[in-house]
């Protein structure tokens, strides 16, 4: 994904992290928008479940996106 793009969460590749992500509102089927990145490209800011969250690239990489 690139900043400004939106998508739908499909699933996760890291189980331990997926619990945390789901609790924070990253649920399969939920819309997610990639807002912008920090100056060195990491971490990134996304909007999910109605709020803005920053997460590291490696954390974001465990989330797979539909379309």
């Amino acid at each position: 994904m690139v900043p400004g793009e939106s998508g739908i969460i499909a699933g996760f590749s890291d189980q331990e992290l997926s619990f945390k992500l789901m609790e924070m509102g990253f649920l399969p089927g939920t819309a997610i928008r990639f807002n912008f990145t920090a100056p060195f490209g990491d971490p990134i800011c996304v909007t999910v479940s109605g709020y803005d969250l920053s997460l590291r690239k490696e954390e974001a990489a465990t989330v797979s996106i539909l379309g």
């Binding site: 189980q15 619990f19 924070m24 100056p39 709020y51």
Partner: protein, 704 residues
């Protein structure tokens, strides 16, 4: 029904839900900081009069999103809410929800409902929700959840009275269930209920899910939980994902019915516009470093006036007391040990207050989360956190408030590393020591006529400390095995104007915590050091004046000079002097003699004491004038070589020693308070002293 006269009410909610504002509104200045047993988390409690006959003890619990904790702070909440047998278990829980972002807070709410805790919802930030165009059917929300809901604007205090009324009512447990554990585990849940004497399926389920977070469980208890888990082939990850999905289905369904109007899409426009500037790849850093510089400058410079005032006042008080009180060891202790000791604690208050005013504003506005966002990548390589930047920079002014500021770092390992390396940052107390030594060994000349060598050396020392901090952080990152994974997952809240009373409460809270907790240790050590420097074995101290007078009979000394000689003689023959002589063999490889040894001992109180001790020991009286001390030191002869005592090698060796050595009892005390034990401060003391010793040794031998 008669209500209990004294109830315990816990405030729970996600970070940024306005929980602290509410806590301040409810309790005012009736706040107390205590400890949760066995952990490093502060327990904030306060009293609140609910009605004429009823007071509540309010506990402000760390912010969290879910009953499954991510940080040590959050574990406290889990334990407190799950284990009904704990003496801290609240009579009622007030869950604070952010009305602008309801979805995000409801997960915890559904978990609390299933835990069957007496519950009350405070729907906060109603004003902002209205501004965002959000409209909610609050009655329906309350009916659907089976929990009373009070609307609130905690910042302005709107709705507080209603909330207090609701808090005064006897607690009711919610009757509905959102998530029911899988039928296959029901049988063992019943055995857990029986064994631990707790009620509720979901509560018992938590004993299965996370026994490691329930600190009160004995080894037997844990073995029991493990055994029953095996019996039904249960493992903690088995149902956790499904549980969250079920809860969010319920939440979405609920929101569909109670949200009458969603926020208009533009309401966060301002926040995004500010973010575009504050997280910009150039301006973001420029602004951040300007803010950091401002913080640094103010604790460095602005705090000086009140600090000088405090210093002067306590010195006067001490002097006045020693003239007024009758002579005797007890009164000496009071006027020269205790009073200056208290002064040594109070003197930190201006710096603490200023730093926490800034930090609190950064947190309140929502900017702190952006600081982490900007700095996370850079700091992570050193095992530090985005938030470590503020403590590290503040360390250049003073390590005491800086170490207290590490409280904002959630991850325990990153917090610990930051605490550990912050004292390497050259603080303002090193400056008097550096100034004299640099002036002594480096010529007052300029490189190419512009850059002063002395300035260059000073900058080099600051840099040296900074590099030591970063390298030590990397070393610690590799040495400490983290039990917890490091996450970022940090909410970027919408920007807000800070609420100034919250800033005030933070200042009061931090100052109180420092004075009451770290203060004890500082006072004890400073009295010990005073005793060591003022008393000696036998009657040598009583006879000091007589001895010196006889010895110097033939010298043309003025009364002032004589007094300076007596002071030097006394210090030399005090216990500190004896220890200074005793450690001489150990410090000789660094190029030091016993006189420097005494200064090393006494300056453990604080580095700048080095200057005063050196002045006393060289019979200069109580002067702190750098020029006088410098010229006296320059004349000092090393009896072994016949050359000057303070050669460049010795001077640099001392400079390096003071750059690395901990040499500050207040830092020791504050680390003890922040890590809630002696293990880390003592390790830190040992590490820094060893590093200082080695570095000074190498410096001395290379330059000799």
């Amino acid at each position: 029904m008669s209500a209990k006269a004294h109830v315990r009410i816990a405030l729970v909610g996600k970070p940024n839900s306005g929980k602290s504002s509410l806590f301040n509104q409810l309790t005012g200045l009736n706040q107390k900081i205590g400890n949760f047993p066995g952990v490093t988390v502060d327990k904030r409690t306060g009293l609140c009069a609910l009605s004429e006959h009823q007071t509540a003890e309010i506990i402000d619990l760390p912010g969290l999103y879910s009953i499954y904790p991510r940080t040590p702070d959050e574990k406290i909440v889990t334990e407190l809410l799950v284990d009904t047998r704990s003496k801290h278990f609240p009579d009622k829980v007030v869950l604070v929800l952010d009305a602008t972002n309801l979805k995000n807070g409801l997960l915890l709410l559904t978990q609390l409902i299933d835990l069957e805790v007496p519950l009350l919802v405070a729907l906060n930030m109603m004003d902002q929700a209205a501004q965002a165009g959000i409209s909610l059917d609050v009655k329906k929300l309350s009916a659907e959840l089976g929990v009373p809901v009070v609307m609130l604007n905690a910042r302005e205090g709107v709705g507080i009275d209603k909330l207090k009324q609701a808090m005064a009512e006897p607690g009711r447990t919610p009757q509905r269930k959102v998530f029911t554990p899988d039928a296959s585990v029901h049988r063992v849940l019943t055995t857990i209920n029986e064994r631990f004497g707790v009620t509720g399926t979901y509560r018992a389920f938590q004993f299965l899910q996370q026994p490691q977070h329930l600190l009160s469980l004995s080894r037997d208890d844990r073995a029991f939980v493990e055994a029953v888990s095996r019996e039904v082939d249960f493992f903690p990850a088995k149902y956790q994902g499904a549980e969250t999905v079920i809860r969010y289905q319920f939440i979405q369904d609920l929101l569909d019915r109670v949200v009458l109007k969603a926020p208009h899409p533009e309401w966060k426009k301002d926040t995004y516009r500010i973010d575009a500037l504050l997280t910009h790849k150039v301006w973001g850093y420029v602004i951040f470093f300007v803010i950091l510089f401002l913080i640094f400058q103010s604790i460095f410079a602005w705090a000086q006036v009140p600090m000088d005032f405090i210093d002067h006042t306590f010195a006067q008080l001490s002097l006045w007391l020693s003239h007024t009180l009758p002579a005797g060891p007890f009164f000496d202790l009071l006027s020269q040990g205790v009073v200056p000791g208290i002064g040594g604690i109070v003197i930190f208050i201006p710096q603490i207050a200023i730093l926490f005013a800034f930090i609190s504003v950064l947190e309140e506005t929502g900017y702190m989360a952006r600081v982490v966002f900007l700095m996370d990548k850079g700091m992570r390589q050193f095992g530090l956190n985005g938030k470590s930047v503020v403590p590290l920079m503040s360390g250049w002014a003073c390590a005491i408030p800086a170490i207290m500021a590490t409280r904002t770092i959630d991850n325990w390992k990153e917090r610990l590393i930051t605490i550990f390396v912050t004292p390497f940052m050259s603080c303002s107390a090193r400056l008097p020591v550096f100034t004299i030594l640099v002036a002594l060994i480096i010529p007052e000349e300029k490189f190419l006529g512009v850059i002063s060598y002395q300035g260059l050396a000073l900058m080099g020392l600051y840099l040296l400390g900074f590099i030591a901090a970063l390298l030590s952080a990397v070393a610690m990152k590799m040495l400490i095995q983290a039990k917890e994974r490091s996450y970022l997952l940090l909410e970027l809240p919408t920007y807000r104007v800070p609420k100034w009373s919250n800033v005030g409460y933070t200042i009061v809270e931090k100052t109180k915590a420092f004075v009451l907790e770290a203060g004890k240790v500082i006072l004890a050590i400073s009295i010990l050091l005073w005793v060591l420097a003022s008393y000696g074995p036998g009657d040598v101290m009583e006879k000091a004046e007589e001895t010196v007078r006889t010895r110097t009979e033939l010298l043309p000394l003025s009364e002032g000079e004589l007094e300076a000689h007596i002071a030097a003689y006394k210090l030399e023959h005090s216990y500190a002097g004896i220890i200074g002589r005793a450690i001489e063999p150990a410090i000789r490889p660094l190029g030091y003699d016993w006189k420097i040894g005494i200064a090393l001992i006494t300056s453990f109180a604080a580095r700048e004491v080095f200057v005063g001790t050196i002045a006393t020991i060289y019979s200069l009286g109580s002067t702190e004038d750098a020029q006088t001390i410098k010229s006296r030191l320059a004349r000092e002869i090393n009896p072994e070589t016949g050359g000057p005592r303070f050669t460049p090698a010795v001077g640099f060796s001392l400079l390096v020693f003071y750059t690395f050595a901990m040499q500050c009892m207040s830092t020791l005390a504050v680390v003890k308070r922040e890590t809630k034990g002696w293990k880390w401060p003592l390790l830190q003391l040992a590490y820094m002293t060893a590093l200082a010793y080695l570095a000074a040794f190498v410096t001395y031998h290379v330059l000799r």
